[in-house]
Amino acid sequence: MARIERQKRIIDFTLSSLLRRKGKNLALIAAYSWIVFLLASVLFITEAIRREAGLVLQDAPEIIVQRLVAGRQESIPVAYGEKIKTITGVRSVKGRLWGYYYDPTNGANYTLVVEEDRLKEAGRVIIGEGVARNVVGESYGTMPFVGYDGAYYFFEVAETLPADSSLVAADLIIVSATDFRALFGIAESLVTDIVVEVRNPREFETIAAKIKAMLPDTRPVLRDEILRTYDTLFDWRGGLIVIILLGSLMAFIIFAWDKATGLSAEEKREIGILKALGWETADVLMIKFWEGATVSLLAFFNGVLLAYAHVFLTESSLFEPVLKGWSVLYPRFALTPYINAYQLWALFFLTVVPYTVATIIPSWRAAIIDPDSVMRT
């Protein structure tokens, strides 16, 4: 009990010391919070986007077969699908139609796909949330398209996709197979690519190799490869931001070192008085520890809460252009809040631990001020 009482009084004194030097400490906490905020924002946004994309790709096909001509993707004959079906272990084969459409009016790129389960009827489209924002308001429920031959098409908007996971689906337009072929001039015998379902997940690679051997002008793409590409992409984007942040981080370290370690004459005098009055070196170290802990924890919680609000409430307004938006059409959506303990620990070790370590030696130097220093001044 006595020890707790003693600690309480030391914490009490520390807090009153911090309040007595409001200006300095508030500046330190503000700079520190800013760094935690930036780092936490990057961590939260990359992790949430990666998770979002992962969820979307969970339902992606196991193997996609594309046809390459001179190293570029071309439409693939429907007949290729029939050949693939003969490979043992293949459960089903399905041709897909999809492509990109540039809308010069809005300066946006849309992804057009055919999903016969959702839309069979010609003359109608189902659009993503991002497309709806751009188009529907002005065209009263119809969307104009210009075909490959310059002809105009007007499709009725049948439905708008929910915004739940709009990162990938924001610029999506679902059209019927008939309309798709008419728009892009694709023959009935061709599809964009072929989706292959395999019975045994351990045979993905074997079957991909068999397809390649049977149809040498094709490229089988595995789902795992797509996931890996996404991961690399988001890691790279996150890394890009972290590199930009390194400058700020360095500036903060210098600032923190100076503020947390440079003792003013007044502080030195105070420590001298405390030592003369019977405070031990350990007590002064304890003050310094509590000072650092208070500043660190306040800044950490400030930064994390602000970053949470930034990423999940304001849609990452600061980083959006870098981390998202690879097409002209920026997906505007609220990411599903996702934070795990590992992220918080990583953040804690990236910010609080370096700060604490940086202040150990100067704190110790402050604590060993001779008690008779006040007698000599």
Binding site: E5, I10, F13, R269, L274, E280, A282, D370, P371, M375
Partner: protein, 228 residues
């Protein structure tokens, strides 16, 4: 009883700025008395006080407190002795700005095991003794010189020390306040506290309550016969 045996204190030893502040002092100070170290500036009074008060270690020689040799004790033990045995009053008062009078008085007892309410009670009682109750929640920078002096006395007494050490306590006080200070010292001594003062103020060393004057010059004691 405090006993000093062949005490030397050298600052910046081995450097061009080497300075011998205390040069071979042998001294015995009895408890329950008011002892004054008298001498001009630079005579070594303050250094001797800080050695006796366990704030610094001598370069050579030994100090005994109640027959216990304290010179070679580790810092932690010296601090404990300093906190429990001595109360300090400094020339510049050395109160901490921004804290209240009560907090300043309680400061020396923060690292002890006393309970907060007991400690607060003790501090308030001391403030009452020195007619400062009404100032307990005032910030230290709002006090007059006399009030600040009384706060330092209260602070020095909060751990109930047996020896009070005062370094030039009247240096910043006028005649009236110096007299009041000496009256307080006399009363405390009558209540059983030993008092050790370094001063070159006649208001102090010529005071009737003084039991012993030790005159110092150039880091040495002036032979007894020559003292006032």
């Amino acid at each position: 009883m405090i006993r000093l045996h062949h005490i030397r204190k050298v600052f910046n030893q081995g450097k061009p700025s080497e300075f011998t502040a205390i040069n071979g002092i042998d001294l015995r100070i009895d408890v329950g008395k008011i002892t004054v170290l008298k001498g001009p500036s630079g005579s070594g009074k303050t250094t001797l006080l800080s050695l006796i008060g366990c704030m610094a270690r001598p370069t050579s020689g030994r100090i005994f407190l109640q027959d216990r040799e304290i010179t070679s004790l580790p810092e932690r033990f010296l601090t404990t002795i300093r906190r429990s045995t001595f109360g300090f009053m400094f020339q510049q008062f050395n109160l901490i700005k921004g804290l209240t009078v009560l907090e300043n008085v309680m400061l020396p007892a923060y690292p002890t095991d006393s309970g907060y309410s007991e400690l607060k009670h003790r501090a308030l009682h001391l403030l009452e003794t020195f007619s400062l109750s009404h100032k307990s929640s005032a910030k230290i920078e709002w006090l007059s010189g006399g009030e600040a002096q009384r706060v330092t006395i209260a602070r020095a007494l909060v751990n109930e020390p047996s020896i009070l050490i005062a370094d030039e306590p009247t240096a910043h006080l006028d005649t009236k306040l110096s007299k009041t200070f000496m009256e307080i010292m006399t009363r405390l001594n009558q209540e059983g506290t030993s008092i050790l003062i370094a001063s070159h103020d006649p208001m102090v060393f010529a005071h009737e309550a003084i039991d012993r004057i030790i005159e110092m010059r150039d880091g040495k004691m002036v032979p007894t016969g020559a003292a006032a």
